[in-house]
């Protein structure tokens, strides 16, 4: 019948490694920026509200915003490092084992990095919002809550490390020695 019409193997073999790599890089920077932006708006709204009655908190609490921003910078770094692996190879020479591996590594590394940074940004944002309001109420609390934020932002760093490790074995795209030959088994 038409069972082979849904052919996972064919999908995996025939999708260009460029597609995987580009998607991974896009997810990486996209989700990182989403996390950073989310954290910044959460913290920013609370700083503005708390700063009306307690203007002294305005400058100190920008540290929370910086922590959130750092998350986006991690995504940017990884995006640049990953895109260095994407060199030009003509389509009939792209399908080698190493290139497949690079493609998959860039995709999953990018996704890992992106999700890590998204959650890190959200976490730092919520902690930063509470830090601003607590600081407005009692100045002694700020430094303590900052430690919570530091631990939250470490998660983004973990994502960075793992993202770099995942592509450490992936070489950049290199042309195949000989052009791909259609297998005799394909009709």
């Amino acid at each position: 019948g038409s069972g082979e019409a849904f052919n996972v193997g064919q999908f995996l073999e025939e999708t260009s490694p460029y597609a995987w790599a580009a998607t991974g890089i896009g997810l990486c920077i996209g989700l990182s920026v989403l996390g950073a932006g989310w954290g910044i708006f959460m913290t920013g709204a609370s700083i503005l509200g708390g700063g009306v009655r307690a203007p002294r908190i305005r400058t100190k609490n920008l540290i929370s915003i910086i922590f959130c921003e750092v998350v986006a910078i991690y995504g940017l770094i990884i995006g640049i490092v990953y895109s260095a692996r994407m060199s030009f190879v003509s389509p009939n020479l792209i399908y080698t084992r190493e290139n497949y591996f690079t493609g998959y590594a860039l995709f999953w590394g990018g996704l890992t990095m992106g999700v890590c940074n998204l959650l890190c940004g959200v976490s730092v944002g919520i902690a930063g919002s509470t830090a601003a309001l607590a600081d407005a109420a009692d100045p002694n609390l700020f430094v303590k809550i900052l430690i919570v934020e530091v631990f939250g932002s470490i998660m983004g760093l973990f994502g960075l490390i793992v993202g770099l490790l995942m592509i450490s074995q992936a070489s950049e795209f290199t042309a195949a020695v000989a052009p791909a030959v259609v297998s005799p088994f394909v009709r």
């Binding site: 708006f41 959460m42 509200g49 919002s129 601003a132 309001l133 407005a136 109420a137």
Partner: protein
């Protein structure tokens, strides 16, 4: 999960309201105020707090009602700032908060109009938080029928009137019963709205509103002893959202004396403590105009109120206030919810009552009772 998106629309206002809360008077400031010799001293002390120079333009001697009015005006200004900057659903929540004052105002106007009082005088006596646009229209009505239909069309309280009070009731029933029926409908509606918001808002508001419901049920019961209010009528006034619902409510409906009221409140640990007779001496009154509780205390005033519990009831009222302040303070422990707005307004009102009490004691030189207020922090 509410933390993820709350700050989009509510983050700034939450910061503002927490700033307001930081300006509430502390125990130190209350101590300074109680040591003032004159009202001028009092005014000077207050100018160092968040109240600032709100009495600066008043000619001496300043009466305590002026102090109370000006302080309330400060509160109203803060509330209006919050309201003008709020979007749904916070704006709806703040609107619900004003309905309680609207009920008081509408009842005031209805009573005044039926007794032929001056319109302007009535409008001036209304609580500023409960003013709505079409209020003067209520003063135009000449008889009960017209009043009822005006009220139904013009006020935001229409749903509460429609479901529980008819035109005939407006004429026959004692006005306090109408007030309590409206308030019951309002409390239940507010609780349903908070439950629809979900999350910590629903939890905290339910706790606060349930206590309010139980407090009203107990007050209605105690104040109806020795009056002509039948038990069925009494039972219909109890809100259904309290912790005493349903068994406690039924027991309260059947109660004939304060001992049975105490027994009805046995299941709830916090309420048991209210009836402990080893508390501070009777006769302690929380000075100044109260909130909604004042109306229940005057329930069936013209049918004759039993005076046996005069002193004890005042003491109980104090304990209710203390517990209410406690619950409202707890609301500030959680972030990303709307109950802070409700709690702040209630705490500020309590503070205004305390200030008025202290001012009264200073003005009347009754310094032995000056410490009988309830501090917020």
């Amino acid at each position: 999960m509410e933390a993820l998106l709350f700050n989009v629309s509510g983050g700034f206002l939450e910061g503002i309201v927490r700033g307001y809360k930081a300006g509430l008077l502390t125990q130190n400031q209350y101590n300074n105020l109680t040591q003032c010799e004159t009202i001028e001293d009092f005014r000077t002390q207050l100018s160092a707090t968040d109240y600032g120079n709100f009495l600066a333009n008043e000619p001496l001697p300043i009466s305590t009602s002026t102090i109370s009015d000006k302080a309330t005006q400060l509160l109203v200004d803060q509330f209006n700032y919050l309201r003008s900057n709020a979007v749904e659903p916070l704006s709806k929540f703040l609107e619900y908060m004003t309905y309680a004052y609207m009920i008081d105002n509408v009842i005031l106007i209805i009573t005044g109009t039926l007794h032929g009082r001056n319109t302007n005088e009535l409008l001036q006596r209304c609580h500023p938080l409960g003013i709505f646009d079409t209020m003067p229209a209520l003063c135009v009505a000449t008889n009960v029928e017209e009043l009822y239909h005006t009220v139904l069309v013009e006020t935001p309280l229409a749903p509460y009137f429609r479901d529980s009070v008819t035109a005939a009731d407006l004429d026959d029933l004692n006005i306090e019963i109408i007030r309590n029926t409206l308030y019951k409908a309002y409390l239940e509606d507010f609780d349903a709205f908070c439950q629809s918001l979900g999350g910590p808002t629903a939890e905290i508001m339910h706790r606060i509103l349930a206590f309010e419901a139980d407090r009203r049920a107990i007050n209605i019961t105690i104040n109806s002893f020795g009056t002509q209010l039948s038990k069925e009528q009494r039972a219909k006034l109890f809100p259904t959202i309290g912790r005493l619902f349903p068994e406690g409510n039924n027991a309260l409906a059947r109660a004939d004396d304060i001992e049975q009221v105490r027994q009805a409140c046995e299941p709830v640990a916090e309420y048991r403590a209210f009836f402990d007779s080893s508390g501070p001496g009777a006769g302690r009154v929380n000075g100044g105009a109260g909130g909604g509780s004042e109306s229940t205390a005057n329930l069936l005033g013209d049918l004759g109120v039993s005076d046996e519990f005069g002193g004890g009831a005042a003491d109980l009222e104090d304990r209710f206030f203390v517990h209410e302040v406690h619950l409202n303070k707890l609301a500030f422990l959680q972030q990303f919810q709307y109950a802070v707005f409700y709690s702040y307004i209630k705490l500020k009102e309590q503070e205004i009552r305390s200030l008025t009490w202290i001012a009264e004691c200073i003005a009347q030189n009754a310094r032995d009772r000056i410490h009988d207020f309830i501090p917020t922090f």
